[in-house]
Symmetry: C2
Subunit: 299 residues, 2 copies
């Protein structure tokens, strides 16, 4: 018999920043909404109950994310807690209660490549990786470490893969560049209580993957939106800039969106308002917004 908690990683995108909802954990720290499993009929219903209670929000899209149960999750608590975490998507709303939205990339700054590859990767992470690689005694071990670092952080010409957010987090953790449940560390200005930052990394990777084969972006957007707005949301999550013309060609040639005829004034030439075309899920096997985690370049 162990304690089981239900955790909610709720994501929204405002303008250009992806945000996630946290509550106060005491001691100036924050954590995701989280509460014990009760007599809930299903785990998901329990999680929704917890979220409603702690953030006063009801949410549409939800999927189970991962279950965290390492013994060492909390340094204070000798007792083991197994946490079943869910990923939720919502339009950003002012939360009702003590919850607040924080910028996702403040937790994981190395994940945002929209303005180019973050300097911290080549300045701090790369050297730390090299040091860690050298430190391996066995040469086979060294080769394994090198491969891992290259693949995970896109070093030495290997392409950056946005989906590997969790693998990056875990490598950084092994490198000692993160203090779990700690604050800052040079790399990031913000951490979360317990292993909740690891949850954030897990959620980011999962969401990035899902974007490419399921039309989940639309859960984050209002009913109608301009194509640029859509693109900005995808970019915010993917952490990468996209080619504008190709993006619009993609979404409409795939039938992901349809024009409404209405126009929006957006600062430049007025843009047409589009809406999601539900029918696409019947027409295409894996409808999504492919982001170019492809291309061998150093990016």
């Amino acid at each position: 018999m162990v304690a089981v908690s239900l955790d909610a990683v709720l994501v929204a995108v405002t303008e250009e920043t992806p945000r996630t909802l946290v509550v106060d954990a005491g001691g100036g720290r924050s954590r995701f909404p989280s509460g014990p499993l009760d007599d809930d009929r299903t785990l998901e219903l329990g999680m929704r109950r917890v979220l409603r209670a702690q953030a006063g929000l009801a949410v549409g899209y939800a999927e189970q994310l991962y279950t965290f149960g390492d013994l060492a999750r909390s340094s204070d608590d000798p007792e083991r807690t197994v946490s079943v975490a869910y990923l939720l998507l919502a339009h950003e709303e002012p939360p009702d209660g003590p919850a607040r939205w924080i910028d996702w990339y403040q937790l994981l700054p190395w994940e945002d490549h929209r303005e180019g590859r973050p300097a911290v990767i080549d300045e701090a992470i790369g050297p730390a990786c090299r040091h860690w690689i050298e430190a391996a005694a066995d040469p086979a071990d060294r080769a394994r470490r090198q491969e891992r670092a290259q693949v995970v952080f896109g070093l030495d010409g290997t392409a950056w893969d946005g989906v590997r957010a969790l693998e990056r987090y875990e490598l950084l953790f092994e490198l000692g560049l993160l203090a779990e449940a700690g604050r800052g560390s040079g790399l990031a200005s913000l951490a979360l209580d317990l292993d909740h930052r690891r949850m954030a990394a897990t959620a980011l990777g999962r969401l990035r993957g899902k974007l490419t084969y399921r039309p989940v972006v639309f859960e984050l957007l209002p009913d109608t939106f301009t194509l640029l707005r859509l693109q900005r949301v995808v970019e915010a999550l993917a952490g990468v800039r996209l080619h504008k013309q190709n993006f619009r060609r993609l979404v409409d040639s795939q039938g992901l969106v349809e024009g409404t005829g209405m126009m929006a004034r957006t600062g430049g030439r007025p843009a047409e308002l589009f809406r999601f075309r539900r029918e696409v899920v019947r027409e295409r096997p894996r409808p999504g917004v492919g982001t170019p985690w492809a291309g061998a370049g150093v990016s």
Copy 2:
């Protein structure tokens, strides 16, 4: 405080049939290896311990699959058990102890499309779906049901998507065509204890997805293999036949495999033995064996 168990869905492929390892659950029923969480440092280590104890097997590749925690999982047990299930891949080996391998598609016969679309889909499932659709009172509700059935089972010209194995299972369950924890039901000759057949469906979907973007097939193969062998394993998991020439072009133009120069006699012209090229993970962002869940045809 609830009971937490660790479950293992271990998959192997012999010749052309994907298999999964089950143990005896008493009363003539079977279930996946499963045992309570103990003082294990991590959940994964605990699961390996359980597997070792119940099947006498140690395994390489493992990933967390899903956590099952519905109240109604077991009709006998009033107590709730939360099960953290893992997906494992192995070369088939005779298990050590009371465990045995069973054919995956005996659990989920509608998933095997290698010899064409299984008759049961159009004969039993399709009509049941139509009945269920008609039964919806609200027309909007009816539209939702119709879309769901079409997408999930590839009815009315919508393409079949192998990855949606879990969604299919859940729909069948709602349709009353499955008796969870039961035996047979017209649709399948075999069921498992508890909701373990749902686990099997979850694992199948996950594995089919993963095949296309990570080189996991090689976990199921010996070090060297012929390309046809590789293809057969992929087909067994994907549940679909592939075009032979294109398949070999794919795997070698992507750099997934390399020839060894050694030959194998295989009944026809001797085939070259190939091996997995690890370097591919550094070269390509998402190396895998794309299966054509594409193509709009009725397939």
